[in-house]
């Protein structure tokens, strides 16, 4: 070992401070706290949709929000794992979850195209755009939490990590707003409640890599 190398190692040793090792369960707990806070605040400030507040749950409500929850959990777990790199680690589970969740908008498009059911008068009104905007905005706390986690960690696939953060935060935000949104139409839920996930993924893939590069 050369003296230059020894000096370099000595400098790093001199700079050593105790650190708290990252563990997946800590990352998942932080993300769950962020998601739980978002949902609680949304319900407290905007209120629950009337049928849910009365204890009635439509099949569409349960099915669609179950898919949103699955995407949120799958993508959050992938993002948390990406913060702790390891050769031999592959996280493909999120692809299956997203593919299954994608059936909802695809089914809505097929129903629209085939006119299986009566077309809505207008596809996009103020409320539809509000769902998209709120879904994205309400995902910001989850996004910020996962970005902080990834900045502390060492993600090796930063583009994919950004995509995971975007998909996870978009689905958490939409899940929170779905508890308030009273519309129970398949078109509305299939199209407009899926769009924040898609947009979140795109924004995350484009914007987040520069925040987590190391």
């Amino acid at each position: 070992m050369s003296s230059k190398s020894d000096n370099f190692i000595d400098a790093l040793v001199g700079d050593l401070r105790p650190v708290r090792a990252m563990r997946a369960r800590d990352g998942l707990a932080l993300a769950a706290l962020a998601g739980g806070t978002t949902i609680s605040l949304t319900v407290a400030m905007l209120g629950l949709r009337p049928d849910v507040a009365a204890g009635n749950f439509s099949a569409l409500f349960l099915f669609a929000n179950g898919l949103l929850l699955a995407v949120a959990i799958g993508c959050t777990m992938a993002a948390v794992r990406m913060g702790m790199p390891r050769v031999g680690q592959s996280s493909h589970g999120w692809k299956w979850v997203v593919a299954i969740a994608g059936l909802l908008p695809i089914a809505a498009v097929i129903m629209l195209a085939s006119r299986t059911e009566a077309m809505p008068e207008t596809l996009a009104r103020g409320h539809e755009l509000k769902c998209v905007a709120m879904g994205l905005c309400l995902g910001l706390l989850t996004a910020a939490t996962l970005i902080v986690w990834l900045r502390r960690g060492a993600p090796t696939s930063i583009g994919r990590a950004g995509l995971m953060v975007g998909l996870a935060s978009g689905s958490v935000g939409m899940l929170a707003f779905s508890l308030h949104c009273p519309i129970d139409s398949f078109y509305h839920v299939g199209l407009w409640h899926s769009l924040p996930i898609l947009l979140g993924g795109l924004l995350g893939r484009i914007a987040i890599p520069r925040l987590i590069r190391w």
Partner: protein, 175 residues
């Protein structure tokens, strides 16, 4: 010191707790391991710099290692990331000696071989691997690489771009 998995994981856990003696031993062992790890895939003139950059990354990302998991797959992921980053940045380098034989370096090299950079390269299409090897490692110009491998100059550039992008996606997945 000999870099065995259990010993390195223990030193790393101690280093995360602030034990400087353990950290010094860990970094010294890592420097030796990294030199051997990178030696076949970077120009000799870049080797020390890349090892130091990787040690500095290890220092900055110390907390990203989970002490309940194996150490070398973590170190290899960090090293691969720095290596791909290095390939992106470097445009010309001296010729590298590629005929060293890993078999002379003892049993623990079996682990190094499993995690090696060769395995990462093996996942690239031949044209992309050849273009990166000629330009980013051997230091040829685009025109020289084009003549050497029979690809057009735009294709060499495209293969380098696509190959580096694919390498960065494969850092953890390709064993």
């Amino acid at each position: 010191m000999k870099a065995d998995e259990a010993g390195m994981a223990r030193l790393m856990a101690l280093a995360q707790g602030g034990d400087r003696a353990a950290y010094s031993a860990l970094l010294t062992a890592c420097a030796t391991w990294l030199k051997r790890y990178f030696s076949r895939r970077v120009a000799p003139s870049s080797l020390d710099d890349l090892v130091q950059e990787t040690l500095l990354t290890l220092h900055r990302k110390l907390s990203s290692y989970d002490p309940t998991r194996p150490f070398f797959p973590w170190l290899a992921a960090v090293a691969r990331y720095r290596w791909v980053d290095h390939l992106r940045l470097i445009y010309r380098a001296e010729m590298v000696e590629l005929d060293r034989d890993l078999a002379d370096h003892g049993d623990h090299e079996q682990l190094a071989a499993r995690l090696s950079l060769e395995r990462l390269f093996a996942h690239l299409p031949t044209g992309q691997a050849r273009a990166i090897e000629l330009v980013k490692i051997h230091g040829l110009s685009i025109a020289e690489a084009s003549r050497a491998c029979g690809q057009s100059e735009p294709l060499v550039k495209t293969n380098i771009h696509r190959g580096l992008k694919k390498l960065s996606m494969l850092i953890e997945e390709a064993e």
